[in-house]
């Protein structure tokens, strides 16, 4: 099971070999998927959730917003996914500074958003399927929850 702990000005995540492979593969898949956004965004509901419209009920404004913001947003999300993949490839421990934690929380969220779409989790009433992909979805959520709790305690120390 993943361990997450504070060590000075770092958060250290320790993964098992299986977790490293699963997370690395998922992050690489996500980066690859985002790489197709230029052509596929409007055809793939997962890309639509990762790269949402900036306006509802105003197609013209949404189009303009997408034109200036979507390339950068896509590039940032690809970089985030690649950063996670590189970190789990490098060894059992991922050592994150404060900004690194934010990158990881964003990346884990993008993974969960994508996986949710693939698993059909689109409304409050949709259950997580009892499959290995469903277990991965839970695991990503659990890891995210621990990471948020850890960084919230860290931030609270800074405010005291």
């Amino acid at each position: 099971v993943t361990r997450i702990r504070r060590r000075g000005q770092e958060v250290v995540l320790t993964f098992s070999a299986v977790e490293r492979r699963v997370l690395g593969d998922a992050a690489r898949d996500l980066a690859e998927l985002l790489g197709t956004a230029g052509e596929q965004r409007d055809a793939d509901p997962a890309l639509q959730r990762l790269l949402p419209d900036g306006y509802r009920d105003d197609a013209e404004a949404a189009g303009e917003f997408a034109t200036w913001s979507r390339p950068d947003l896509t590039t940032a999300k690809i970089a985030t996914a690649e950063q996670i993949a590189a970190a789990v490839d490098a060894g059992d421990d991922a050592r994150l500074d404060r900004q690194g934690v934010t990158v990881w929380m964003r990346g884990l969220t993008d993974l969960r958003v994508t996986l949710a779409e693939r698993l059909g989790i689109r409304t409050d009433d949709d259950a997580v399927p009892d499959t290995q992909a469903g277990a991965l979805y839970w695991w990503l959520g659990e890891t995210q929850e621990m990471l948020v709790a850890t960084v919230d305690r860290w931030d609270a120390e800074g405010r005291r």
Partner: protein
Amino acid sequence: MVGVAQLVERWLVVPEVAGSSPVIHPMIPMDRTLSALPVEVLPDEDVETSLRPEVDVAWTTVVWNDPVNLMSYVVHVFRSYFGHPDAVARRLMLQVHNDGRAVVASGPREEMERHVEAMHEYGLQATVERAGA
């Protein structure tokens, strides 16, 4: 180009390591996700307009409910990005849950577009909206 079916297939397969079963445990209960909170009756306060007293408040940043994001994460984003105190961040998160959406900022259009782009970077569903729409 990556096919959707290919991605699903890859994601559906959790690789096995010889001699050990996958150490992935479904431990996080559903009721910690944003949209699975119990519905609470909130005081009818006009949180959004009291937060940003700019003169030009013709536009707003709206965050929408979704079944994926953890409530702790949404509170974290509202606190760390907008600088809201914890109680305000939590109240806004609850508004998103209870009403399906919440206005989290008001002001000039360009500023709201930057906020929405930032929310998208965090993985939240957000849009720009004309105030009072």
